[in-house]
């Protein structure tokens, strides 16, 4: 499996995902420190707490634009399949965990962990594409 750097949509996807991931890490660290040390108060706490979520929205934006900008219809179909598989896995995980948590069988987890499940499913979708269609999708 290798990333096709000659494809402009793929390159843009990688850049957008990289920036979003970097902003996610930095904003989360900043919020943890500033809110944890009680260095901010008022509406700024809300803005700081929401900033990592905006970075995650940036990741979804990167996925959306990968579809919009993709000129190759076959690769676009593969990426869409990956997104469907990723979404299916994430909501299945959320449903399962939700009921296990409701009946006290597992600890509470923050819902943003389902985003990790989504991206895990997105990657798994690439493997499914490779097996069924002979190409990975966004990595082809």
């Amino acid at each position: 499996m290798e990333f096709n750097f000659s494809s402009k949509p793929n390159r843009r996807f990688l850049v957008r995902l990289g920036i979003s991931t970097m902003v996610l890490g930095l904003s989360q660290a900043a919020a943890k420190y500033l809110i944890g040390e009680e260095l901010v108060d008022g509406p700024l706490i809300w803005a700081l707490a929401l900033f990592p979520a905006l970075a995650m929205v940036g990741m979804f934006y990167a996925c959306g634009m990968l579809i919009v900008e993709q000129k190759d219809e076959f690769v676009r179909m593969l990426v869409l399949r990956q997104l469907v598989i990723g979404t299916g896995i994430a909501i299945s995980f959320a449903s399962g965990w939700g009921f296990l948590e409701k009946f006290g069988l597992v600890d509470h987890i923050y819902p943003f962990y389902f985003v990790i499940a989504f991206f895990g499913g997105f990657g798994f979708g690439g493997l499914v594409n490779r097996l069924t269609h002979g190409a990975w999708g966004e990595m082809s």
Partner: protein, 63 residues
């Protein structure tokens, strides 16, 4: 849907990459169409027909 893409490409001594460049798609797309794993859209099927200078029905065949 069956197609004669591989035969037509071989007749012209084109690699999959050559045809992909002419169609402005990835090599994987050409491979997927040739192996019947993906049926192209009508606009792409017309582009293929134009490149081979053949009617669509002489390239793509009913199962």
């Amino acid at each position: 849907m069956k197609n004669r893409l591989k035969v037509l490409r071989a007749e012209r001594d084109w690699r999959q990459q050559d045809l992909a460049q002419r169609l402005e798609v990835s090599r994987q797309s050409v491979n997927a169409i040739e192996t019947g794993k993906y049926d192209p859209s009508l606009p792409l099927a017309f582009r293929i027909a134009d490149i081979f200078a053949l009617p669509i029905e002489q390239i793509f065949l009913r199962d």
